[in-house]
Symmetry: C2
Subunit: 146 residues, 2 copies
């Protein structure tokens, strides 16, 4: 695949936790909703826990639950927790610095990328988990397992 689905799956995970309304949800249950392996879910949750978005409880009858109110978690928070630092392909972009263009293009591109990234994250910041939960609401009367 061209990109990774880390962000998309992470949003799904948090939406699912919102749907389950604070219960301690095991990774296997989330995995069933995403249709993947529980380890994949736990790997992503590891980052979400480190970012303070999710609370974790070990042991029997343990699981994951949201660590903040729905309206205080935005897609930007999730994006930053899920994705590694964006390189925009600059990682392996090493132009010939003996050429006048190659010597300066990198800094110019970096500036443009930072602005583009900011523009994207500004849009993501407008969407809260609460609004996503609201969109899901007509379909989830109670809090049932899949």
């Amino acid at each position: 695949m061209t990109g990774n689905s880390r962000f998309a799956v992470s949003v799904h995970i948090l939406a699912y936790l919102a749907y389950r309304q604070g219960a301690a949800v095991p990774s296997a249950e989330i995995a069933a909703s995403v249709d993947t392996n529980p380890v994949v879910i736990r790997r992503l949750l590891s980052g979400l826990v480190k970012a303070g978005l999710v609370h974790t409880q070990k042991g029997a009858s343990g699981g994951f639950s949201l660590a903040a109110p729905l309206d205080q978690i935005t897609l930007r928070d999730i994006y930053r927790a899920a994705e590694p630092a964006p390189t925009h392909g600059m990682a392996h972009f090493a132009p010939n610095t003996k050429c006048p263009v190659g010597a300066k293009i990198e800094a110019i591109l970096h500036t443009a990328f930072v602005k583009a990234q900011a523009g994207m994250e500004a849009e993501l910041a407008l969407v809260t988990l609460a609004s996503i939960h609201e969109q899901l609401r007509p379909v989830c009367p109670g809090s049932k397992k899949p």
Copy 2:
């Protein structure tokens, strides 16, 4: 690598063509500036030509040159010509549609991605090739090969 460098290299290519001021530039010369293989350059240029940003001339003493004024080419144009349609990881994201969350999350995510993409492209649209050429200007008095 986390991402691809198609966009970064494409901008470099167009900046180089601007630097060479309308001359027919062979792919090997551009490749020397980017420090890569000429075929890689020609592959990317293929897309730029199709997008109408670059003019190509086959045969001896042929090469590539800009097909539009510097102030009418923005980073967004280059981005769209260089990158394939953005999937945002949705390509391999196929949640369990039997789960209420899995069934609706895809549409919600797609909407958010479209907005995020638009926010990013709006920033890219503000940067023209003319402004990049201007930033390169102090360093390129004439039009010399590297």
